[in-house]
Structures are given as structure tokens and as C-alpha cells.
């Protein structure tokens, strides 16, 4: 018999939305990503590409283009015709400004970030001024027939190049006149298909780079209107294009899922003459690569297969570090599953609905690694659709399984679940207090009689849940000093005395919980320069275990307001290198009541039981040593043991929780299951098939 009985859940049918566009922050520290469902995410390069902020989508707000302007302001524009500014601290979209030219296909900011140019369906290119608190229409540039699919500013902001179907044109910004109109298909005799210029870029040398639906990347001299070079990179369309800041490297994404790098290389060693050469091909995606970005050290691509791939350029990286490895992200860096431990229910959060499942059960026992037959199959209890076009921000089911809450951008909903025999009834709790900003995280207390709602500006609302179905706002906890960022993680303690909250400006605050008479802020964990990816309070010792996005683990004693000695030992010794170079952040932490020294944590690819009583591994030992340990005799095994016991059996792992002392639930989403739900990729002949 193994240590745990594991519920291996594979019925969470999550299909992440494809990546539509990418925007690299000009200073290269952040990456904004928009998905096809309208969600906008911000990744922080410094914090191991952690998915720092997520703004859920909206049915009516598709995002075709994102750009950073005026410092750290993020703008998005889409086919709704609106330009939207995103509130990154409040994690919401501000009200949009109508572009006035029909659906917007592209938007770019100029080099200083003071102006935005949009390309519209009606063929117009409009310039907006970025002003504090919003944007202001400035002027219309020369309008020609044909939708403007892509735009690019000249680095000196004097010209804009606009790509359309079959042609692109160069517009003088000051006069607003089209100074050059180039047919991309002119030299092809009797071209039957139209040629869509999907992406374009204007280099400082005056060269226009275009990527078109014929799979060509072409280099034009815009002043002469002549074609300088043409590279057919693919037999299908070239969809996206990004130029490095030094303008010596280009990444092109194609509809076959391949990306290509083009480099400006000297023709002869030490010679002055340079030429663009197609160099490395990469095949990371299975579907269209709709968005590419070129950071100084990496090629970034996002495809309709929902993958974000960060491929480092080895020659630009000075030393071997986390950045030097290829990173692929498919699943979000946060929890979409919550678990009612006592009632054995799982709540799955999709973009517009929730699903409540009851776990199956078995009466048999077996040996380690054996699959037990189910006597009761898992049961899909209820599907709860959110009303309106807004997508769900967060959701939670109470530990007793009778309360379900979720929040959208504008509303907070609480439901009472009644399970009587086979029937399940869901009743909306009336008169839920209205919250103005959205809730970013919901958490029920362990005894299910109160609900914590994480909210904007570092505040946490506390609701009291009343039988048979009601709730009352008790009070709002606020951080001592003003905090502008929203709280995105909550962790109540098992005894109900403590609540830990994490806010966006990376302060981990600990506030005493409801039952304490004073309800005051207790302490703040020392600031760390990385985002918190998961945290939990130990049920018996009330130690707060925090996992950071750079894979550091800290243990903070709440009563003593300081790091524990174990945590200090870990810090002084350093974690194992293999642990630090892992791909994805820890998304959930839980504890084993049977063995207080055990901490259970998981990321997308592994499940780890951290045993504090065992010595820490050093870099010379193998981190993932479970399989080798199994082969060793008992005595030798003792010597080889170290604190990290890692299991990689369940992949990709979206959620893991401990139901009781020896029962574990894991939620997997096999990549193949999810790939089959994607549309068919472009047919390609493969040799040998």
C-alpha cells in the first residue's frame, strides 16, 4: 500500500485560449499577451517569466493588438472598434474609446510612446495622443481603400508604413499623405490569390520588411519602391514578424507553427556588405503562430495552440542561468480548481462557467502503483453558467461543499448547494453585498462560516455566511499603509485565527482573522523582489510557507513575526540548482496533518513532498532521486534521502490537494486531450507517412 490513495482526475476539460498578440515592454522587463478570448496577461521576465497579472476576457472585447505606451500603460484594440486601456493595478479594463474607423486591426505606439496609430477596417490610419488618464484623437492620415492589417512606425516617428491586402503604403506622418504605395504581388504574373500583408516593419535604414500570406518575407526599399530581397520561408502564410531592437535579427511566425529567424550578416568576414539570411527554423507550435516578439535575449512566440514559447538566443546570454533554457507555457500560473475536502467536491473554473464534480470512490485497497477499481464513478453535479459577456475572475467552493462563490469583473455571486441524495439544487444567495471592484480571490474559512474576498487596493472583505442561505458583510481589512495593488492570493489558517494576503506590490501581509477581537493588521513579511506564486499557513504551527516565482521557498512564523530557523537554513544553504531551474512556479501548497514536517507542493510538472526533517540536497546529489532510491537497499536508502521527494507521474498537473490524511486528489490535463479539441492544423506532408 502506498503512502496516499490518489484520485487521478482527468475530467477537467480546460482548453486554454490561443495567443493572439504579444507586446514586449520597451524596456524589456514585461511581456503583455492577449488571448483569443480577450484575456490579457502580463508576464514578468525578471521573475522567471511569471504570469504576474491576468485580466480575464470579455465576450465583446476581442483584442487584435496590444501596445505599451507612455511608460507602463498598456493599450489594447480590437475588432469592436474600441481602444481600451488596461488598469494593471486594478486588473481591469478601463472604458474604451471608439476608434471611429470600424474594427481596428492593428495599433502601434511610436518610439516615445506619446502617440498611438491605429489601422482600421475602412482603410484609415488614425493617430491618437496619449494623455494622462486616457487617449485623445489627434488626426486622420490619408485614407485608402482596403483594410489596414498592420502598421509600423519609423524609429524616428516621421513615417508610418501600413500593410493591406496586396499592397502596403508609406505615409508621411507630418503631412498625412501617402508617399509610396507598393504592390507586393506586382512581379507575380497573374496572381490568382490575393496576397495579404500580415505583418510589416519599417527599419531605421528605410527598409520595409513585410510578411505575407504567400509565406514570403520581403525587404523593400520604400523610397525607390523596389524589392531588395525576398525570402520564401514557408509554403503557407507568414503571419507575424518582429524585429530586434538592434535591427539585426527578425523572427517570423508562420501558419504551419514554425518560426524562423532571419539575421543580418556580413557577406564576407569583416566586410561591410551585409545581407539578410534565413537562419534557424524552430518548430515549437502545432498551429498558427499569430504573434511573435523579439526581446534582446530571446525569441518569443505565441500560437493558437495556446503555447507561449520563449526561446533564448544563446549567443546573447552571457552566463548559464534560468534564462538560458527554452520555456514553454501552456497553462496559467494560478489555480482554476478548488476543492471541498470534506464533501469531496471539485469546482472547475472555465472562462464563462463553473463545473462542480463529485469525486468517485473505491472500497478496495491495493499495492503501491496499482489502479483501484471505482465503485462509484465521479459525478458531474452541476454546471453554473455566468450571466453576461464577462469572464470569470475567480471561484471557490467551501470546504463543506455547500457554498460556491464566483466573481466577474463587475459582480460577485454566491450560491448555496444542496445535495440531497442524487439531486443537487443550487440556490442563489439573495442580497449579496455589492462590491465595486471585482474580487480577485475568494477563500472560505476552514469551518465554512466566513468568506474572504480579495479586493483592490490591498483590501480584503470578510463576509459571514449565515444558515440557511445568507451572508453579511462583517468588515474590510486594509493594510496599514496605503497599497494600490489588488490582493490576488489569500490563505486562511485552519484554526481561523490568521489570514495571509498577497497583494500585487509583492507585500505579503498577515492579518488576524475574524474571531480575534481586534481585527488588526498583525505584520508584514519582509519584501522580496519576486512575486508570490503560492502560500499557505501550517495548521498546527501557524507558520506561513511562501513559494516565490523564482522558486524560492520561505517559512515565516506568524506568531514570532520572523523567518523560521529552517527557512534561514534553507536560505543560507541555497536550494538545489535543478529545483531553481524548473519551468513553472509552485501553484499550490498544502500540509499533511499526519506528519507536520511535510509540506506538499506542486507545479505543472511535478508534485513534491518536502520533508523538513531530512537534510537538504546539495548540487552534487540528484534532486529527483525517487527512482534510484527504490533500487537501493534499506541502509543505503537512508543515507541518500533528502528533503525533496519528487513525483513526476502526473503531468501536466493543474491542481493537487490533500483530502484527508491518506487521500490525495490530483487534476491532470493531458496535452493530447487538449490538442484534440483544437482545430486541425495546416496539413503538411510529412516524409515517411
Amino acid at each position: 500500500m502506498g503512502e496516499f490513495e490518489v484520485h487521478r482526475v482527468r475530467f477537467f476539460g480546460l482548453v486554454p485560449a490561443g495567443v493572439r498578440c504579444l507586446a514586449c515592454h520597451p524596456r524589456g522587463s514585461r511581456l503583455a499577451l492577449a488571448r483569443t478570448d480577450g484575456a490579457v496577461e502580463v508576464y514578468n521576465f525578471a521573475a522567471n517569466y511569471f504570469q504576474e497579472k491576468v485580466i480575464p476576457g470579455h465576450e465583446l472585447r476581442t483584442v487584435e493588438s496590444l501596445c505599451w505606451a507612455a511608460g507602463d500603460r498598456l493599450f489594447g484594440a480590437g475588432l469592436s472598434g474600441d481602444i481600451t486601456e488596461y488598469d494593471l493595478s486594478g486588473l481591469s479594463a478601463a472604458r474604451g474609446v471608439d476608434g471611429g474607423g470600424g474594427p481596428i486591426w492593428s495599433m502601434v505606439a511610436n518610439s516615445t510612446g506619446t502617440q498611438l496609430a491605429i489601422g482600421c477596417e475602412d482603410g484609415s490610419v488614425k493617430i491618437f495622443q496619449v494623455v494622462p488618464g486616457g487617449i485623445q484623437f489627434e488626426r486622420n492620415l490619408d485614407r485608402r481603400k482596403g483594410r489596414v492589417l498592420c502598421l509600423s512606425w519609423h524609429p524616428s516617428d516621421t513615417h508610418i508604413v501600413a500593410g493591406s491586402i496586396d499592397f502596403f503604403r508609406v505615409i508621411d506622418v507630418t503631412s498625412g499623405q501617402t508617399v509610396q504605395r507598393i504592390m507586393v504581388n506586382h512581379h507575380v504574373e497573374k496572381a490568382k490569390r490575393e496576397c495579404v500583408v500580415w505583418a510589416i516593419s519599417l527599419l531605421s535604414s528605410g527598409t520595409v520588411v513585410s510578411a505575407d500570406s504567400f509565406g514570403r518575407v520581403q525587404f523593400w526599399d520604400w523610397e525607390q519602391g523596389t524589392l531588395a530581397e525576398s525570402h520564401t520561408v514557408s509554403t503557407s502564410a507568414a503571419l507575424s514578424l518582429a524585429v530586434s531592437e538592434k535591427e539585426d535579427s527578425i523572427i517570423v511566425g508562420t501558419s504551419t507553427g514554425a518560426t524562423y529567424q532571419l539575421q543580418l550578416l556580413p557577406v564576407t568576414l569583416g566586410g561591410q556588405e551585409k545581407r539578410w539570411v534565413r537562419t534557424k527554423p524552430f518548430q515549437f507550435h502545432s498551429h498558427d503562430v499569430r504573434a511573435v516578439a523579439h526581446s534582446p535575449t530571446a525569441l518569443i512566440s505565441g500560437g493558437l495552440d495556446a503555447q507561449l514559447v520563449i526561446r533564448p538566443l544563446m549567443e546573447k546570454i552571457q552566463k548559464k542561468s534560468y534564462d538560458a533554457a527554452l520555456r514553454k507555457f501552456t497553462f496559467p500560473h494560478r489555480r482554476l480548481v478548488s476543492c471541498a475536502r470534506k464533501a469531496r467536491l471539485l469546482l472547475f473554473q472555465f472562462s464563462q462557467y463553473l463545473e462542480l464534480w463529485r469525486l468517485g470512490s473505491t472500497e478496495e485497497t491495493g499495492k503501491d502503483g496499482e489502479v483501484l477499481p471505482l465503485c462509484q464513478m465521479p459525478e458531474h453535479l452541476v454546471q453554473l453558467k455566468s450571466k453576461g459577456p464577462e469572464h470569470i475572475y475567480c471561484s471557490c467552493v467551501s470546504p463543506c461543499g455547500t457554498w460556491v462563490g464566483y466573481s466577474t469583473a463587475s459582480r460577485f455571486h454566491l450560491y448555496r448547494v444542496h445535495c440531497d441524495g442524487d439531486g443537487v439544487s443550487l440556490r442563489k444567495v439573495p442580497k449579496v453585498p455589492k462590491l465595486l471592484p471585482p474580487a480577485y480571490q475568494l477563500q472560505f474559512s476552514a469551518d465554512s462560516d466566513s468568506l474572504f474576498v480579495a479586493s483592490a487596493r490591498g483590501s480584503v472583505h470578510v463576509f459571514q455566511l449565515l444558515e440557511p442561505g445568507g451572508c453579511k458583510h462583517l468588515h474590510t481589512l486594509r493594510p496599514p499603509s496605503g497599497c494600490s495593488e489588488a490582493v490576488y492570493l489569500l490563505a486562511p489558517s485552519a484554526d481561523g485565527h490568521w489570514l495571509a494576503a498577497v497583494s500585487g506590490d509583492w507585500v505579503s501581509a498577515v492579518v488576524p482573522s475574524v474571531h480575534c477581537p481586534l481585527l488588526q493588521h498583525h505584520c508584514t513579511v519582509p519584501t522580496y523582489n519576486c512575486a508570490v506564486s503560492a502560500l499557505a499557513i501550517h495548521p498546527s504551527t501557524n507558520n506561513l510557507v511562501i513559494a516565490y516565482s523564482d522558486q524560492q521557498l520561505l517559512e515565516f512564523s506568524i506568531p514570532e513575526k520572523q523567518y523560521t530557523s529552517w527557512s534561514r537554513a534553507v536560505q543560507s544553504r541555497g536550494l538545489h540548482r535543478a529545483w531553481l531551474e524548473r519551468d513553472s512556479p509552485i501553484t499550490h501548497i498544502t500540509f499533511n496533518p499526519k506528519n507536520p514536517s511535510h509540506i506538499l507542493l506542486h507545479d505543472t510538472y511535478l508534485l513534491c513532498v518536502l520533508d523538513k526533517s531530512l537534510p537538504l540536497p546539495d548540487d552534487s546529489t540528484l534532486l529527483m532521486n525517487q527512482s534510484t532510491l527504490k533500487q537501493l537497499p534499506e541502509t543505503a536508502r537512508k543515507r541518500q534521502l533528502h528533503a525533496f521527494k519528487i513525483c513526476k507521474k502526473f503531468q501536466p498537473l493543474l491542481f493537487m490537494d490533500l483530502l484527508d490524511e491518506n487521500c490525495l486528489v490530483v487534476v491532470e490535463r493531458p496535452i493530447m486531450d487538449f490538442k484534440t479539441q483544437l482545430p486541425l492544423p495546416v496539413q503538411q506532408k510529412k516524409f515517411g507517412t
Binding site: 569583416g270 537562419t279 527554423p281 549567443e315
Partner: protein, 826 residues
């Protein structure tokens, strides 16, 4: 004995045309290519081989035009010399002796008086180094080229592993690069240090070992071919970190060679797919193909004006291809089949050698022009290149005497249940080719082991008979029958099936007049009357199965010769039905000359082949050439001469009417390619017959005579001999044993102790001292002993059939003596 050195072995054809990349002359009118030890000059326009430049003593491994004089050519060879030729006149200008094996040659325009060569590193196996060889200027023709300076260690042995790049105007000079199986190195020549090196490893994705490297003629770009079929184009390689490459991928297996066009805009690549791929502008999307080139491409070379390119194929063919990828013409050498199952057959019509060509084809190879005359598709089925696929292949070929009929046997590679087809082809004068006449499915139930036509010129077509022997223990006789249809065509059908004690039939052979057919069944030779198909007599020489049989010709037509597995050569007299003589010789090839009574036997013993030529009526061979060549001789054939040769006829009567050709295989361990060469025996012309040489020859002959006189019969301990004699007695099949009354006396005799034993032993000592010159004594004695045992036993058998008089016995003894002396030469 025969004076050694008078005859020598000449490599006369079938050599690999792909020893090195071919070179076009500067005006693209001539193609220079390597053919074994020779360099050939081929005119591209007239499709004629103009000149044959020979002089190297071993394989030529590299040819390069002299960059300072386009009418001159450098060639290097494994014999350790570099030769400079005037290829327009075909004369050697200079010979530079380097002294070590040269494996590849490179020339550079900027290096005035030196060339680069790859040599094996001294003291280390399988390690090679690139050296620059200073070509000293001197007046004479033969010069020393021993001034070597090592440029780089650890390079690959193949010429494809090194390429010299463009000369850079900057002070760094020109660069060259090398790729070996594991690494790519870029070296700037002036600095003589490696500035860029890259090792490849076998990754999970595939096997990306380098297979070849070429340099872009105008730009700093290197193209490398890889074992996984990819071509990588490297650029920016002056920087250790910022180097970059792009990949072109079409080939599914190793890229054998690459070539850039003169401007570098086109890149040609070839591999095992037999497709020449042309890549434009280094783009993976724009490519052209020239498919169906017949066999894997090994080398590609481009002419300097970019008009032509030529590919060298593994089947020994050179294809010349136009710049617009149109196949132009080809030079086909001898195709090296994996396994020459058909043996060497001479086409009576063209005097061409006929053997397995490309899979399922029969090639007609002209030895005079060293070219394939034509290829006859026998199997007539698409050949699919795939490992493990069972293919049908041609295994047996026989021509009728006039060459009007051709019989072929093909079988699939299945071991247990072969799919057999016997095809008979008739030569059609109008189309000048063979036409299929009859196809017989499953002529035998098991593999066909041998096949022969009855060779009768005078009797005409009616007597034409084909005999096939099979492992299904029968031989079948096939005759022509007239078809019933009005056109009066003929077809073939089975006439007689013979078998013998359910033994597997292994060989068959007709006597010269066609009246007798000899078929060997495992250990026994049976002789059949070809008119009545009665079994006439049997011969047996245990132990060992019969490997080859043949009838004697002309004056020796009463003899039949057989060679057995255990190394015996036996000659039986058909008139007396007795063993005439036998000798211990591990005969691999037994080949009678069709125009004379001579028979050539080639033996294979302790890693060397020896040739014995004999007349069946004399047990003493006419000619012995020991250590004919180091390789195992697989097959041999006598090819009739057009005119009988007179000059050498006195000394070598057996070479008067025919020439002996033989085929060897040389397995080069590194590349695992079978190189096959044709050799012929030619009379050494440079050695004139002087009185002295005659005297010497006479003296030797006398000495040999003395040897034979002195070499009295070595009689062995009879007791020792007795037990094998009894054993032989028991082992001999009962049906060949004479009656017990005969055996009794012999048996008793064998137990008696000889009187002359002592004296004979003394003599034997003398013999050893006098006649054995270079032989290992103990070994020799063993062989002799064996031989004696056997001969005496044979003698027993011989005695059984007819009582011998004293004088006859004496004669027999004499034969034994002679036997001994000849064997001692072994």
C-alpha cells in the same frame, strides 16, 4: 619449375571510378576522373575516353588541376607519390615522392609551390593529418617531396571532409575548414590556429555527424552535409558565440556530397536517394530535382563555367548533367554487384564478360574499353530500395556456344522456399538484343545449383540441350520443342529428370563432343549418356562434396576433373573409369580454357591465392604462380583472344588462344564498400629473353629435375597409415567398393612394415635440405604426409579396377614423386 616474374598480374579494369571527385578541365571540354590506378581523360563532347594516364602503383586518391597552369593536373595516390601531368598529352611531367600514403589532395592558387594532402599519422591508427607538401623545384622528373609541415591533426580521411575557403583580403589570409565525423573546425591559414570548432553529438533528434563540407565561392559561408540528411549553411563563424546556421532538409539519409555553383547561388546535393537536388539562393522552398539517377550519388563536381556538373555514383557510373538539371550522358564502368552470383561468363558473341549488374540486371562488360556495353533487364521488376525487403535476383547465367541462346535463373532471397524462374532468351539479330523466349516457373523445387548448355557447334540447333541441377536432388534436361502455332516458334520444355540416390545435384558439365554429361551429386560424380540418359559410371573421392567439375578438352577429352570441398583436385580417366591422379589443393576456381586443353585452378590458402595451370593428362602443372594476389579471387574466366598470340606462346602455351581474367574483392574496412577489380595475366614484356635468363631458366629447370629425381617416395610408417586406410575403407560408399577379394590383399599389405623405410627417411631429409627454400618445414611435411596417404589410397582404388603390372606400379610411384615435388612448392 617455371621462372617467377615472367608473368605478372595486371589490373585491367573494373576499378572504381569514384576514388575521388572528378575534375573538369578549365574549358569544360574534358572530364578527368580517377579509375583505379589510372586517371582518365574523357572528352565531354565526343563521349570518348581520350587518354589513360597510368603510372601510379596504387589507387589514385585525389586529382586537382594545377591552379597556375590549367593544362596540368596533380594526382596523388596511395603509393605515396604526387604526380604532375600534362593531361592534354597524357605525359607525366614530374613525380614527387612523399613516402607515406596520400589520401586526399588539395591545391590553392595562393600557395605557389606547395599542395595540401591528407596522410595517416605515424604511429597512430585511424588518425590522419593535413600536411602541406612543398614541391621542390628541380630539373629531373623524379623529385623528392618530403618537406612536410603539419597543418592540422585529427582530420577525416575522406577528401569530402576538408574544404578550402575563399581567400580573405584582410591580414588573416585565407581560411579553410575541415569537418571530420565529430567536429567542424575553421582555421585561418596565416594564423594556423583553429578559431572555431564545433563538435556534434548524437542527440535525441537525430544523428547530425558531418559527412561533407564545401565553401561558398564568393561569400563566407560553409555548407555541411550531415548524416541525418540535413544540410547546414554556416555563417558568421568568425565569432565563437554569434555563429549562426540555417538548415536545408530534403534528404532522408546521409548527404553524400555537396557542390556550390561558381557564383554560389546554387547548391547541389546528393545522397542515397539517387536524386540530385539543386537549392536556389539557400532557400529551402526553392529547389529542383533530378530524380532517377539510378544509384546513390557519391561525389558531385562542377565545371568552372558552371555549365556542367558531374555526379559519381556508387554503381561506378559518372553522369554528366547540364546546368538546367538535364541528364546529358554517362560513363558506366563495371557495376559492383553485392554478390556476383552468376559467376563470370563470356558472351560468345561480343566476347564481353557477363555478370550480375544492377539488381535484377545482367551486365555485359567490355574489358577492352573498361565500360559496360549494355545491361539486360532479366527480372523485369521494379527494384525497391529498402532494407530487409526480399528481392528477386539473378543467380545463374549460361550461354549457348554461339551465343544465340541465353538461359537465366532468378530467385527471390527467401532461404527456405525460393521463388524460382528459369528464363530462356533468344538473340534477335534485328534488334540486336536478347528477347525472352520461354519462362519456366519453379523449374526446380529448391535452389538451382548449376546450369549448362550442350556446346555443340557442328550439330546445329536441334541438339541444343540445357541441363539444370538443383538442390531438390534432381537434374533436369530441357529441350526445344516446336510450337504448334503456324509461326513455328520454339519453346523449351523438360525432357528428362535424373537423380542419384537422392543426393543434391551440385554441378553439371558436358563433355566437349556433347555425348557425355557429368553431374556431381554431393560426393559423387555421375556420368550420363546424353542420348539415352543412362547412367554410365560414377566416381567418388571422399571425403568432401564436389565443388567443381569439368571435362578435359581436345587431347585430354578422356579426363574429367573435379575439385572437392576438402581440398582435393582429382582427375578421373573416363576410359578406365579410374582415378588418374589427385592432388591436395584447396581449389576455389576451376576454369577450363575453351580453346585449349589447359585448365586453370586457383587455390586459396592462408590468405593468398595461387594459380595452377595444368593439362589433365599430366599431373604436373604447366605453370604455378604462387601469391597471385593478396585478395581472395572470387571468379575467373578465360576470354578467347581475337588472334592467337605468338610471342609468348612458347613459354606460355596456355595463354596463346585465351586470356585469363579474374575477379577479386577488396574489402576496405573503413567504408565497407566492396571494390572489385579485374585482373588479367600478361606476359612481362619488359624482361627480354636473354641468353642469361635462358640459362638461368634452364638451370632452374635442371635443379627442379634433380629435385624430382632425388625426391624419392617418402614412405611413412605404415602402421600409422593403416588406421586411416581402414577408415577410408569404411567410409567409402559400398557401391564404389570392389569385391572383398581385392580388398583383402591390400588390407593385409597395409599392415606390413616396409623394408625401404629407413633409406627413404634419409632421402626425405635430403629433400628437405635441398629443395625447400622458403617453406615452413613442419607444415610442409604435414601436407606431404596427408598427400601421401591420400594418393596411396587412391592408388588402392585404382588398383582395384585393373591389376597393375610391376612396371605400371613403378610408373605410379613416379607420379607420386612428381606429385610430391609439386606439392612441396605449396
Amino acid at each position: 619449375m617455371v621462372a617467377p616474374g615472367a608473368l605478372r598480374v595486371v589490373r585491367c579494369g573494373g576499378s572504381a571510378l569514384r576514388g575521388a571527385r572528378a575534375v573538369f578541365s578549365a574549358d569544360s571540354k574534358y572530364l578527368l576522373y580517377v579509375s583505379g590506378d589510372f586517371v582518365k581523360v574523357y572528352s565531354v563532347n565526343t563521349e570518348e575516353t581520350l587518354r589513360l594516364m597510368g603510372g601510379h602503383a596504387d589507387l589514385v586518391t585525389g586529382i586537382q588541376l594545377n591552379p597556375h597552369n590549367h593544362m596540368q593536373l596533380y594526382s596523388c595516390s596511395l603509393d605515396g607519390t604526387i604526380k604532375l601531368w600534362d593531361f592534354m598529352d597524357g605525359i607525366p611531367i614530374k613525380t614527387f615522392t612523399v613516402g607515406t600514403k596520400l589520401l586526399a589532395l588539395y591545391t590553392l592558387a595562393s600557395a605557389e609551390d606547395s599542395v595540401f594532402a591528407v596522410i595517416p599519422k605515424k604511429g597512430e591508427r585511424d588518425t590522419f593529418q593535413l600536411v602541406s607538401v612543398t614541391l621542390t623545384k628541380g630539373a629531373g622528373q623524379d623529385l623528392e617531396g618530403k618537406e612536410l609541415s603539419v597543418v592540422l591533426d585529427g582530420v577525416g580521411a575522406s577528401m569530402k571532409h576538408i574544404a578550402f575557403g575563399r581567400e580573405v583580403c584582410s591580414p588573416s589570409g585565407f581560411f579553410f575548414l575541415l569537418c571530420s565525423v565529430g567536429w567542424l573546425v575553421l582555421v585561418f591559414f596565416s594564423q594556423m590556429n583553429c578559431i572555431f570548432s564545433l563538435s556534434t553529438t548524437k542527440t535525441k533528434g537525430g544523428d547530425n555527424r558531418f559527412s561533407c563540407v564545401v565553401c561558398h565561392p564568393k561569400e563566407d559561408c560553409i555548407a555541411t552535409g550531415h548524416a541525418d540528411g540535413k544540410i547546414r549553411l554556416w555563417r558568421n563563424f568568425h565569432d565563437k558565440k554569434e555563429y549562426t546556421y540555417s538548415t536545408l532538409h530534403w534528404h532522408h539519409d546521409i548527404v553524400m556530397d555537396l557542390a556550390f555553383s561558381i557564383e554560389g547561388t546554387r547548391l547541389l546535393s546528393g545522397g542515397v536517394e539517387s536524386v540530385l537536388v539543386q537549392w536556389h539562393n539557400e532557400s529551402s522552398c526553392q529547389k529542383d530535382f533530378l530524380p532517377r539517377l539510378g544509384s546513390p550519388i557519391e561525389y558531385i563536381s562542377m565545371s568552372s563555367d558552371g555549365d556542367l556538373c558531374c555526379t559519381l555514383h556508387t554503381d561506378n557510373r559518372i553522369s554528366i548533367i547540364n546546368s538546367n538539371l538535364r541528364f546529358s550522358r554517362s560513363i558506366q564502368g563495371l557495376i559492383k554487384s553485392r554478390d556476383v552470383k552468376t559467376g563470370l561468363v563470356v558472351d560468345p558473341r561480343t566476347k564481353a564478360l557477363v555478370l550480375n549488374g544492377e539488381p535484377g540486371h545482367l551486365q555485359f562488360y567490355s574489358l577492352q574499353s573498361d565500360q559496360q556495353l549494355f545491361s539486360l533487364d532479366i527480372v523485369q521488376r521494379q527494384y525497391i530500395h529498402q532494407a530487409g525487403l526480399k528481392q528477386s535476383d539473378l543467380v545463374k547465367v549460361a550461354f549457348s556456344a554461339q551465343g544465340t541462346w541465353l538461359a537465366t535463373v532468378e530467385e527471390s532471397e527467401e532461404v527456405t522456399d525460393p521463388e524460382l524462374q528459369l528464363k530462356l532468351w533468344f538473340y534477335n539479330e534485328e534488334i540486336q538484343s536478347f528477347e525472352l523466349n520461354t519462362r519456366i516457373n519453379t523449374p526446380h523445387d529448391n535452389h538451382i545449383t548449376d546450369m549448362c548448355f550442350r556446346d555443340m557447334d557442328e550439330l546445329g540447333d536441334d541438339s541444343l540441350i540445357l541441363v539444370t541441377t538443383g538442390r531438390d536432388c534432381v537434374f533436369k534436361v530441357w529441350v526445344m520443342v516446336e510450337d504448334t502455332d503456324p509461326e513455328g516458334d520454339v519453346s523449351w520444355s523438360c525432357d528428362f529428370v535424373g537423380s542419384y540416390h537422392n543426393y543434391q545435384a551440385t554441378n553439371c558439365c558436358f563433355s566437349e563432343d556433347g555425348s557425355l554429361l557429368a553431374v556431381s551429386f554431393e560426393e559423387t560424380v555421375t556420368v550420363w549418356d546424353s542420348l539415352t540418359w543412362d547412367l554410365k559410371c560414377t566416381f567418388c573421392h571422399p571425403p568432401g562434396n564436389i565443388r567443381n567439375i569439368c571435362f578435359g578438352r581436345l587431347t585430354c577429352s578422356k579426363y574429367i576433373i573435379g575439385a572437392t570441398d576438402y581440398g582435393f583436385l582429382c582427375c578421373w580417366n573416363l576410359l578406365t573409369c579410374a582415378l588418374e591422379w589427385s592432388a591436395q589443393l584447396n581449389v576455389v576456381v576451376l576454369q577450363p580454357d575453351p580453346l585449349s586443353e589447359y585448365i586453370a585452378a586457383i587455390s586459396w590458402l592462408s590468405k593468398e591465392s595461387s594459380l595452377f595451370v595444368f593439362k589433365p593428362n599430366e599431373p604436373l602443372p604447366v605453370y604455378i604462380q604462387r601469391n597471385l594476389c593478396k585478395d581472395k579471387i572470387l571468379l575467373a574466366a578465360f576470354v578467347p583472344r581475337d588472334e592467337p598470340e605468338i610471342t609468348s606462346s612458347e613459354k606460355y602455351p596456355w595463354l596463346r588462344k585465351s586470356q585469363l581474367f579474374f575477379l577479386t574483392d577488396t574489402q576496405i574496412c573503413e567504408t565497407k564498400i566492396l571494390l572489385t577489380f579485374f585482373f588479367k595475366l600478361a606476359v612481362e614484356e619488359s624482361l627480354p629473353v636473354t641468353p642469361f635468363s635462358l640459362l638461368l631458366g634452364k638451370h632452374r629447370h635442371q635443379q627442379a629435375q634433380e629435385d624430382t629425381d632425388l625426391g624419392k617416395l617418402v614412405v611413412h610408417n605404415k602402421q600409422k597409415q593403416a588406421s586411416p586406410a581402414v577408415k577410408e575403407l569404411l567410409h567409402t560408399p559400398a557401391h564404389v567398393l570392389p569385391s572383398a577379394s581385392f580388398l583383402c590383399t591390400i588390407f593385409i599389405n597395409s599392415l606390413l612394415i616396409s623394408k625401404e623405410k629407413k633409406s627413404a627417411e634419409e632421402v626425405a631429409d635430403e629433400v628437405e635440405m635441398e629443395s625447400e627454400k622458403a617453406e615452413d618445414d613442419s607444415d610442409e611435411e604435414d601436407i606431404t604426409a596427408m598427400e601421401q596417404e591420400d594418393t596411396s589410397h587412391m592408388e588402392l582404388l585404382g588398383e582395384m579396377t585393373c591389376k597393375l603390372s610391376k612396371s605400371q606400379e613403378k610408373e605410379l610411384r613416379k607420379i607420386r614423386k612428381m606429385d610430391y615435388s609439386w606439392i612441396s612448392a605449396l
